[in-house]
Amino acid sequence: MKINLKPQILNPNYYPKKLKIFWGPLYYLLAVIAVLVLTVSGKASAELTIKANHDHIKIDFFYHGDEVTVSGTSDAGVDLMVKITSPETHLVMKKKGKVAGLLWMNVGTLNFEHTPNLYFLHSTRGIEELLAQEEMDKEIIGYDALMKHVGITPIENDYEREKWFKEFVRFKEDSRLYNIASGDITVTEAGNRQEYFIKLPWPYQAQPGEYTITVYAIRDKRISEKAEAKVLVEQVGGVEVLADMAKNNGALYGIISIVVAVAAGFGVGMIFRKGGSH
């Protein structure tokens, strides 16, 4: 954003001639206030810090998930929340229902818009007692807030919306991609400050991409500060080559897969033939 450093109000020529004698002190007064405001807010944003021990998770053939430690410092006495999310996506899911009152079958699809692929929320205490609902909605904290944010179609009413969102969360929790827990952030006092720390298992089901870790400092049911860090999950080496080939060169990838399969089939056949002849 481009900031106009000399707005009209600060321009001495803007004022009538009589008022010009006041301009000098007024100008300085405004300047002092501005410096004070900037200093105070700058100090506030420096209070809460965040650091992830891994900001680059590499997926190679032997990758089986990882561990991410989020730590930092905050004002003493505040409650903390750590939220990890991925960019939002659009997901199509099959919907199961009873047909002819007897058989459970797929009865159509549901579109889930603006859903993060991963959603982790950890806090020093239960989120409902920590934050006011409007604050949670604003920052998409908790499943209720996420439900309001996510678009689900086609549904007929709020009852259906809640029902299918709950199912969606269960599906994601089964895949270890959604989790809400409280009381698992370790906080230690350090003078008039406090240090926080949480170790999280990073699921191998989490797809490559950039994830955002946000830490919130909470005082009197309001978010007083927040800070962010990024974690990049990336495929490397042979995994990257194969994934890239499958995506961008499907025909060659298919032919290689077939040739390898046929060769393996013949190869094993030959070995057994040899073995059989002895």
Binding site: I59, D60, F61, F62, Y63, H64, G65, V92, M93, K94, K95, K96, G97, V99, A100, L102, L103, W104, M105, N106, V107, T109, L110, W164, E167, F168, R170, F171, D174, S175, Y204, Q205, Q207, P208, Q235, G238, V239, E240, L242, A246, K247, G250, A251, Y253, G254, I255, I256, S257, I258, V260, A261, V262, A264, G265, F266, G267, V268, G269, F272, R273
Partner: protein, 308 residues
């Protein structure tokens, strides 16, 4: 030991796919079926997305059926001429089936019709095969069996013998019009495309009861047929859906190619009716599993798209 799968985007213990491959490959070599009806749901159970499970299974069946066809060919159990005629039919049937499914879906409630047809088809094929092979096992008298076959052949065979383009299939020891395997292959191809399965479990009974081929030749020829069908499916899945996971396929085929050899060798020691009754039991077990899936309340009411 775990390996990361680049297309399935998940990690799996290598012992799971190798073990699954071994078991399903064994069934493949023994009965001449691809085993997709078992492997795809098992892979999904271990967290593989449905589309990737189906596509990668087709890729591993290429390996298992190559291994199995090779083993059966060495035993003289593959009727290539019959296999090619069936393939022509099933290829045309597959194309027709894909169009038919579009019409069915446009009519609405297609899944219900398809699933019900699948269950009825599996159930009746399994039951018929079970009782037929059971009575064959009980009788055992060669002369009795021959007499019975003669009687049945005359009932069904009159119309078939009147068809043009009659040819002798030496390996199978049967004479049919070329149109018969092409038509039957087409029928299986249509059903397989509509149901989204390979169709081995249908092709085997069709060859045994309608083409009257000996069971051991049926197994070898079915595998030869399955090989080509799965080559086509693997290519299409890799090209259009980008869903074949090479690493998973390699792990599966490590087990399945060996399993197919063991299955073929083991099958040699079993009589045709013993093989048929075992296959019937498996088909019936799958039928029961699908019926349970359809009637028991699912644990989750939503699922990923793709797959069956």
């Amino acid at each position: 030991m775990y390996l990361y799968l680049p297309v399935a985007l998940t990690s799996i213990s290598i012992f799971i796919p190798v073990g699954l491959g071994l078991v399903v490959g064994l069934l493949s070599g023994l009965f001449g079926v691809g085993g997709g009806f078992l492997m795809t749901p098992l892979l999904m159970m271990f967290g593989i997305p449905p589309v990737v499970a189906a596509a990668t299974d087709a890729n591993q069946i290429v390996a298992a059926s190559t291994s199995g066809t090779y083993a059966h060919w060495r035993m003289g159990n593959v009727d290539f001429k019959m296999g090619i005629h069936l393939l022509v039919g099933s290829f045309i049937g597959g194309l027709t089936g894909v169009q038919l499914i579009k019409i069915l879906r446009a009519m609405g409630n297609a899944d219900f019709t398809i699933k019900l047809t699948y269950v009825i088809m599996l159930g009746s094929v399994g039951t018929y095969m079970f009782f037929e092979s059971l009575s064959a096992l009980r009788k055992k008298g060669i002369t009795e069996k021959a007499g019975k076959e003669q009687k049945k052949e005359s009932a069904v065979g009159r119309f078939l013998k009147s068809l043009p383009l009659q040819t002798h299939y030496e390996k199978s020891g049967v004479t049919h019009s070329i149109l018969v395997p092409v038509f039957l292959g087409g029928f299986v191809g249509i059903l397989a495309a509509i149901m989204g399965v390979g169709g081995g479990f249908l092709m085997v009974p069709v060859m045994v009861y309608m083409l009257r081929m000996p069971m051991h030749v049926v197994v070898g020829t079915s595998l030869f047929q399955v090989l080509f069908t799965c080559i086509e499916v693997t290519f299409l899945q890799a090209y259009t859906n980008h869903a074949v996971d090479f690493i998973l396929a390699v792990l599966l085929l490590l087990g399945s190619t060996i399993g197919a050899q063991i299955g073929a060798a083991f099958g040699k020691r079993l009589k045709g009716e013993q093989l048929r009754i075992l296959l019937a039991c498996i088909v019936l077990a799958v039928t029961v599993k699908i019926i349970l899936e359809l009637t028991l309340t699912p644990s989750l009411f939503i699922a990923q798209t793709g797959g069956h």
